[in-house]
């Protein structure tokens, strides 16, 4: 039986210290990191022969769409479901995202991301869930621009990679700009632009982005974050100017 050596950074609860455990898992063709973790549940025994609690991690869709299985794999943030073990060097190391509180083992609490979206009012203020008037028209060009920036899966990879996201900063990550950008491209979403830009001009907003650009590189949903940042920055600056001129 050919095996894969896996090193996992574990933590029993948010207050505990982390520790490492090593496992050997049977290697199968086409196995993803999620497959590896699933196999581990069937026999949670370390290389030293100690029986241990199965590793806790999050995974829902296993198709790269839900964003819950983002973790640090061999030092780089990736989705466990879309990472094929054959392509990784050994030992395969798995660590939780470091920019979020660890709940247990590889499972983290991403509430901070959703709180940040709440602060910029990242939604359309619908009047009601009912039929309403003629169909909306959106210029094809605006729709083409909106599609890739709407693809964010809230996995936290951009936050993980960003040097500006740290304990001393209120900045949650570049995903914020993708959401603001997508809303701006929508006729009803743009109604919220002034309030949203005001928020993004404040703490944890556009000024916190240092333009490192690593977010675009690591985004598993391939959201063109750098483009969104530039557009949102332009919008925010013109909002600041208008405020200055009392417009």
């Amino acid at each position: 039986m050919e095996t894969v050596l896996v090193k996992i950074r574990r933590q029993d609860d948010p207050g505990d210290l982390p520790y490492w455990e090593k496992f050997e898992v049977e290697r199968r063709e086409g196995m993803t990191v999620v497959g590896l973790l699933l196999a581990l549940r069937e026999n949670p025994v370390t290389v030293d022969g100690n029986r241990t609690a199965p590793v806790v991690w999050e995974s829902s869709c296993r198709d790269g769409l839900c964003g819950s299985c983002a973790m640090v794999i061999n030092g780089r943030v990736r989705l466990a479901c879309h990472t094929v073990v054959e392509e990784l060097s050994e030992p395969v190391t798995l660590e939780p995202l470091s920019k979020f509180p660890v709940l247990r083992d590889l499972k983290v609490d991403r509430a901070r991301m959703f709180d940040a979206l709440g602060r910029i009012l990242a939604w359309i203020d619908l009047d009601g869930i009912h039929a309403h008037g003629p169909a909306l028209r959106i210029a094809p060009e605006a729709a083409t621009r909106a599609a890739p920036v709407s693809a964010c899966i809230m996995c936290g990879a951009c936050s993980e990679a960003c040097p500006q996201v740290n304990e001393r900063s209120a900045f949650a990550g570049a995903f914020l700009f993708a959401h603001a950008d997508a809303l701006s491209a929508h006729p009803l979403g743009s109604f919220g632009d002034p309030a949203r830009m005001d928020e993004l001009l404040g703490r944890g907003g556009i000024a916190d982005c240092a333009g490192a650009g690593v977010c675009s590189e690591v985004c598993p949903a391939r959201v063109p974050l750098v483009e969104s940042i530039a557009r949102v920055e332009g919008k925010a600056n013109s909002r600041a100017l208008k405020r200055l001129l009392g417009l």
Binding site: S60, C61, G64, C81, G118, W123, I138, A143
Partner: protein
Amino acid sequence: MKRPGIIVVGGGAAGAMCALKAVEAGVEVTLFSRFAPRRSSSSLSQSGFNAALDSKGEGDSPALHARESLVCGDFLAFESEVAAMCEAAPMLAGLFDRMGVAFARTPEGLADLVRLPGSTKRRSAFSFAGAGQQVAAALDAQLRRLSAAGKIRLLEGWEFLSLVVDDGGRCRGVVSCDRSNMDTKAFPAEAVVVASGGFAGLWGGRSAKPDEDGSALGACFEQGAILANPEFVQISPFAVAGADESHPVTALMLAAGARAEFPREGTPWRFMEERFPKGRGMVPDDVAVRALLCAASGAGQTPGAQPVVDFTDVDQGRWGACFRRSLDLFGRLSFDEGPALSFKVSPAVVRTLGGLKVNSSHETSVPGLFAAGSAAAIYHGACALPGNELTASAFGGLVAGVEAARFAQGLEAKEVTQSLLDSAREREEDENGRLAGQQGGENAHVLMRELSGLLSSSAFASRENGELSRAAEKIEELSERLAGCELLDRSEWANAELISMRAIERGFKLARAVVAAARSRDESRGVHYKPAFPKRDDAGWRALTKASWSDGEVKLDFSEKVEGKDVEPAAREY
């Protein structure tokens, strides 16, 4: 007295729509979700949102949409309910447009439409960012808007354990468990809507949705709710297999020009187009699966020949960015040398079509309990029309929201007694205690994998009574071994093992219903294909399968006939 309002279990397209509509109707709403609502399985319905918008001037109409849905469902769905869904679909598409779903546009700025397999018209509004993911995200944003305004209680990270049912058999709330601190609590409600998804995860490796473990559904089944059509599943004919999961080639990819073929010397054999010239090879999943199995074993075929799906005809300029992540993964899972845009495929279960039996108001057989989305069996019959999945979930959620609110408001305010809540909670705590005390050295995940293997061989694309009977016996055996499963995690914090073990026990009960129903239904309909009974038998079997759980056994009832007035059963021609 403040009225408790309604509880919605699940935050996907169905649960979220239900919650939004019920808030509007003026009841208190508490929504429980295992994870952030946007991470639900609705995001997997990537192909599109079916609505007869007819923006292409092809003469599409809600009536035609309904007819094609009923034909695709092999005449097992209820006509008036499907007609109501198709009638409402254009309104829902407009609603999602206003909510910010990034639909692709026509040059005139309207939502663009694509023709998906099984439809004769361009009827599916789609998104280059994935329709399902877009709908799930837009609904998640609306839930958060209401939550920020204090209009809804959003409880994320909670696991549904069971219903609170009073002595009169009425559903009065739920028992739920916080997945982090493992706090188990009973919550009162005037009505409960289960929108927790299906149970395709039981088919294991052949499925893409492990979170669809049927845990909440199984709990309702165990507590007396009738399950309908458990033997019907949606099998995607073309999925690229990894070691543990399959990744379906979506209906949208086929619409964009991806083609199934058998590699041959010279020109490949495009068997789908040859067999279905009228639909240009784009037919419903069940029809495609049968054609595929037929072609794979046909004359002149090398044994074990595996088809591929070829993407070279897909316009890269238009679709490249949309499919890039999928194609990238397909490529990394296909190790043998072959053309870069051609991938070996095989059939895989992608969703279940059975669920709780509901009437047109989405009420289940338990008073006060409603169901919607994949948790309810209502709009798809024996095979879902590609693109109808999201439409059915959104519409079902809407109806369930209105009806559950009406049910709650029509009740005389009657307090749920504390003793009823306490005893419901204690029962679940005892259950957790029982699992923690089990001994015997078995591993629940290993048994689950064996169960998945049994379902994938006996209740798959071709079904045989002898094999189903043997599978039923084997499941009994495995069920007994479940009692010897040890809880591998003793922690009182984020104990995912305890939650999985509970889900697995329920999954076994659902699996018993699947196999029993498949064994009994001696005909072929939708994906339920029995070579020994190769024809659809409308006189004998145009009936709902109703499964109930009593005294540890599955009881089946086929007495409820499905009838229609406008669409008569006929041969399905594509």
